[in-house]
């Protein structure tokens, strides 16, 4: 029997160390993407470092375990700054047979997909020489399983992925390498879980193994027995990975990373980082025993069947042996609450046996049997305070009979030993006797509004009793006394409440209107507004503008990057910063179906704060003259700031509006008068220069204001009031009349028409439809001799052929243009 075991062990050893043939006469360039500490991931671990170590592992696997001729690396350390041209020049000058570029991706905190991008021309055909697609098709499966993510974008041609319209391939390494090539994106370094795993040395071996196995398969060779067991050790209740857990497999041990061993390189917070990852190579096949121990946890013992074909993943959820304790309470100990408005909230250190806790609550003085509810995986208890008395001191005792789900008795005094009660004192406040106050409004009293259907915003400083709102707010035409048709929505918040009136009819230019709030609206304690509030305003008479939608979000938010994707975004708490599609908080003024919700968290330890919520599309473009860039913004009253950013044709390529403080709650139209409002300061030259298109919404923290909040955006658009006519940059007096062919043509929805006037005089340019009916007058007035251009906005016209006509003095000229929507 011993002999058989010995032979089996010898066979296995030979099998594990056997060199794989079939790669002779072949070589590869491994390209660890980026350089030094570029593309910093969450928690200060950069993509560049991860890709370097994955590359080193892959090189070692190929050199040590196969008969490959040579493995080259474009970057060999964390100091070199290797440009894109050097990466491909190095491979091309060597005449290498293959190019593999290693990367990871950036995005929101929850995104973590895998992707292989092979070289592709805009025609859809694979790059010549072929091969990158076939390799990518193999790699994507192994990489996705190895990274343990079920979300996969796939093996995709880079032109299809990025949307090339001509030429290609899109990626430099695919376009400029003269051999088959591909680029891997192994998860997201902006994903907290992924990037804490990326820090681990052996995790990068795991990624490299997936490429090694893929190359072996691509070369038609048999993959060796893997012999790798790996997994993540976590706390069974919180799901958090455990640092310093000791895993024993087949007589060898592996200790999961700790602050002392690894994480101190990336954080000064000794409790922040954890991955719980363990990894064993050369594990024999069959059934293996595994044992895991960690301070404060019961020892775990089990067996694992080794996979013959892939990694053997075995995650271990450890049971905490520590007794439960009260982690947080609201109100804080010694603090107070409003009975019936503020509830009592107790959060335990772990999920509790709810019945034992409910039966262990003792109030002095007694409060009867208050309503209780549990949340957060039965860790948080909320007690309704409706039956509590005002201005009373209470003591709450949670008896030691309260237990967690593993029957550990409560550790009430937090000394680490269970079996003692928890005691807290709090008081209830005197009744609120101050009525609600209106703290922000749109429009302001006597303001002149210019939008046809304004959204009225009335922001109060506390939640309101909705039953008292009916018949208290009026919106009337002052001259006729008629009520304006509106849809009223009430939005309660924690510290604020908003009433929005969505106007349902066009207001009349030059007319006075009145918003009136009658007395009687009450706060939650029944305090009523005592005096009427009147907000008179005027509908401006500058003209009825034409509004063009940029994005109304009804089609989703796929066109927007998550905030972390932009390298300009700084100073955020990435876990709490993200964008979502929302179907509840909507601009009812336009019948919107969806909006974009943006949650943000600012890192108060940072010194700079900016969210660049980027919109990568560069169309539509919009004019400057007589144009307002607008969005509906549901404010959170935080006092933080918002601004627009546009792409422009001047130095720096970007300009911003001035910061606007978000001091309102609920919906409000935010606008930038492009021709007249000041330009803010960012990376442009402070001057708007055509062509303009939207770049981003931008947000920043106002120091001292709330660092957590939620905003909603809807109906990003621009509105043009009248035609736009500007003198062309080409100065000088032309020698003859001229009417240029519009550009672009066909167009949608705007196009530019240039014209030349050699003699000062009256000029008329009009647009006619195919039936000869005049549909627009673009210019009608005196013009000095010169070159001009005018932007024709046709968003309100149907597709079709149109004629435009220039008349000046005796000169008459007409041309055709095609509107295609």
């Amino acid at each position: 029997m011993k002999k058989i075991l010995l032979l089996a062990a010898l066979f296995l050893t030979v099998q594990l160390q056997a060199q794989i043939t079939g790669l002779s006469g072949w070589n590869i360039v491994i390209d660890p993407g980026h350089s030094a500490d570029e593309n910093m991931g969450i928690y200060n671990y950069p993509e560049a470092q991860k890709s370097l170590y994955v590359g080193r592992h892959l090189r070692a696997f190929l050199q040590d375990s196969t008969d490959i001729d040579t493995v080259y690396m474009t970057r060999t350390d964390s100091i070199q700054i290797v440009s894109l041209s050097q990466r491909t020049d190095y491979a091309n000058s060597l005449g290498a047979a293959w190019f593999h570029s290693l990367h990871s991706d950036a995005g929101g905190a929850s995104a973590n997909t895998t992707l292989l991008l092979w070289g592709q021309y805009a025609s859809g055909a694979e790059k010549i020489p072929n091969g990158g697609k076939a390799m990518s098709d193999i790699m994507i499966g192994n990489l996705t399983k190895g990274m343990r993510t079920t979300t996969v974008r796939g093996s995709i041609g880079d032109c299809s992925f990025y949307g090339c319209t001509s030429g290609g391939p899109y990626l430099w390494v695919n376009r400029m390498s003269n051999m088959p090539s591909e680029l891997s994106e192994a998860g997201f370094h902006t994903n907290p879980k992924q990037n804490q795993l990326n820090m681990n040395y052996e995790w990068k071996r795991l990624e490299a193994k997936t490429f090694w196995w893929s190359i072996i398969k691509f070369k038609g060779q048999q993959r060796p027995y893997p012999g790798i067991m790996a997994g993540i050790v976590t706390d069974s209740e919180s799901g958090l990975p455990i640092n310093g857990a000791v895993v024993t497999v087949n007589g060898r041990t592996y200790t999961t990373d700790t602050y002392q061993s690894l994480f101190h390189k990336y954080s000064t917070d000794s409790t922040l980082l954890r991955n719980g990852f363990y990894y064993f190579e050369r594990v024999p096949g069959g059934i293996q025993s595994i044992s895991v121990s960690a301070p404060g946890y019961d020892t775990y013992n089990s067996t694992v069947a080794m996979s013959d074909t892939f990694f053997t993943f075995k995650d271990v959820a450890m049971v905490n042996s520590m007794p439960p304790y009260v982690a947080t309470v609201l109100p804080a100990v010694g603090d107070s609450l409003y009975p019936g408005i503020n509830n009592l909230q107790i959060t335990f250190s772990r999920p509790m046996d709810t019945a034992s806790v409910n039966n262990a609550l003792v109030f002095a003085p007694t409060v009867g049997n208050p309503q209780k509810s549990w949340s957060a995986n039965e860790r948080t208890l909320v007690i309704n305070t409706s039956g509590f008395q005002f201005a009373t001191n209470y003591t709450l005792t949670i008896l030691a009979t309260a237990k967690d789900k593993s029957n550990h008795p409560l550790d009430g005094n937090g000394d680490g030993v269970g079996g003692d009660p928890y005691v807290m004192n709090f008081s209830t406040r005197v009744p609120d006797q101050v009525p609600p106050a209106l703290v922000a409004r749109y429009p302001q009293a006597n303001e002149q509004v210019i939008e046809k259907r304004p959204v009225i915003n009335l922001t109060f400083n506390e939640p309101l009793k909705t039953s008292t709102l009916g018949g208290k707010i009026f919106f009337t035409n002052t001259s006729t006394g008629a009520n304006v048709q509106t849809l009223t929505k009430y939005y309660p918040g924690t510290d604020f409440a908003s009433v929005n009136l969505f106007t349902r009819e066009d207001l009349v230019p030059g007319t006075q209107y009145l918003i009136k709030i009658e007395p009687g609206i009450e706060d939650m304690s029944g305090n009523a507004i005592q005096e009427a509030i009147e907000i008179p305003f005027t509908m401006g008479s500058i003209g009825q503008g034409t509004t063009y939608t940029i994005d109304n979000f009804d089609g989703g938010i796929g066109n927007w990057w998550v905030p972390q994707q932009s390298g300009s975004t700084v100073g955020i708490l990435t876990d709490t910063t993200n964008i979502y599609l929302d179907g509840v908080i909507l601009n009812h003024g336009t019948g919107s179906a969806k909006s974009m919700k943006l949650t943000y968290g600012w890192d108060l330890l940072a010194t700079q704060w900016l969210i660049r919520e980027y919109y990568p599309a560069t169309t539509p473009t919009f004019p400057i003259q007589n144009t307002y860039l607008e969005t509906m913004l549901f404010g959170d009253g935080s006092g933080n700031k918002f601004r627009f950013c546009v792409n422009d044709g001047g130095p720096g390529g970007h300009e911003v509006s001035e910061w606007k403080t978000i001091d309102w709650y609920g919906w409000k139209l935010v606008r930038w008068d492009l021709a007249n409002d000041p330009v803010g300061s960012w990376i442009g030259n402070g001057v708007l220069e055509s062509p303009l298109s939207i770049d981003s919404y931008q947000l920043t923290l106002t120091p001292g204001k709330k660092n957590i909040g939620t905003l909603y955006f809807d109906d990003l658009q621009y509105t043009v009031y009248g035609p736009v006519d500007v003198q062309d940059e080409l100065s000088g007096v032309p020698g003859a009349y001229g009417l240029s062919q519009n550009f672009p043509n066909p167009f949608n929805p705007s196009t530019v028409i240039k014209y030349a006037i050699p003699v000062s005089g009256n000029v008329e340019i009009s647009v006619y439809n195919a039936l000869g009916q005049k549909v627009k007058t673009l210019v009608d007035g005196f013009k000095e001799a010169g070159n001009y251009q005018i932007t024709f906005e046709a968003g309100d016209l149907p597709s079709g052929l149109y004629l435009y006509e220039l008349r000046s003095g005796v000169h008459y000229e007409v041309k055709k243009m095609l509107l295609m929507k």
């Binding site: 570029e38 376009r175 400029m176």
Partner: protein, 276 residues
């Protein structure tokens, strides 16, 4: 998209390639373009023959996924290309043309000179001076027929070496580092700072190069510069905001610089004077 323009010694023809360095194209002074080969990799690191009759390059051949490289001459008179070396999976050095006008290539690590007249090669250094990258170092063969190996920055890998027309200097890059000029006897190292793809003026007095930035996926900016052979008078030649110029090379009279604009795939030329 066209890239890597290089003008013929007599200035009458312009050779260039396309993305992936596949094939070679020739444009004459009437702007007529002819494709002289579609061979893979022929467009990377090619050199004009001094008599303007053709181009020496290192095309690739594929047997399945196995790649072999070898030296070949592509003639402009319609004659078939001539393979002047064996094709091997281990050929990692680019062929070239020495200052004496002879084609050279490496086979099994040995320098060979090829006579375009006799159409034969032999194991020896080419006439004049030649320089090439071998095992990450710069090799120079001298007029005396000696081979000198230069390691300008110890432990660092050299790429993109180009010998000046007078044979006295080599411009090259260090992987992950700067652009340098060094005398072909291994002395007088000059650090030019960041720069890529250096190319000499016909009179050996200037080098033109590109200075790029990238985001790891695409170039984000690029401009073309010139600098004197002694490292002085660094001059910005382009100041484009909407173009990405790459692969600069001098015209035969040294007055212009040809480059590829990868924003639209065109080949352009610009005065070699400073940008206005």
């Amino acid at each position: 998209m066209f890239i890597n323009p290089k003008v013929s010694p007599d200035g009458k023809l312009l050779a260039f390639t396309q993305e992936g360095y596949r094939g070679l194209f020739i444009m004459n002074d009437k702007n007529e373009i002819t494709k002289i080969t579609d061979d893979p990799a022929a467009g990377f690191g090619f050199s004009w023959l001094h008599d303007n009759s053709g181009i020496v390059a290192r095309p690739a051949k594929y047997d399945g996924m196995k790649r072999s490289n070898g030296a070949a001459i592509y003639y402009l008179n319609g004659n078939a290309p001539v393979e002047i070396s064996e094709f091997s999976t281990k050929t990692t050095t680019l062929p070239g043309v020495s200052t004496g006008g002879e084609v050279f290539f490496l086979q099994n690590g040995v320098v060979h000179a090829y006579s375009n007249t006799s159409r034969s090669s032999e194991e020896r250094s080419p006439a004049g001076v030649a320089a090439f990258i071998e095992n990450d170092k710069i090799s120079v063969t001298t007029t005396a027929g000696e081979k000198r190996v230069i390691e300008p920055v110890k432990g660092e890998r050299c790429i993109n070496a180009a010998l000046s027309p007078d044979g006295n200097k080599v411009v090259f890059e260090v992987m992950g580092g700067d652009l340098y000029i060094i005398n072909s006897d291994g002395t007088g190292l000059i650090d030019l700072g960041t720069g890529y793809r250096g190319a000499w003026s016909p009179d050996s007095k200037k080098v033109t190069y590109m200075l790029t930035t990238d985001d790891g996926h695409q170039l984000t900016s690029s401009q073309i510069y010139t600098v004197n052979a002694d490292g002085t008078n660094k001059t910005k030649i382009t100041n484009f905001s909407h173009f990405l110029p790459i692969d600069p090379s001098f015209s035969a009279d040294g007055k212009f610089i040809y480059f590829a604009n990868i924003t639209d795939g065109s080949i352009m030329k610009i005065s070699a004077e400073a940008a206005k």
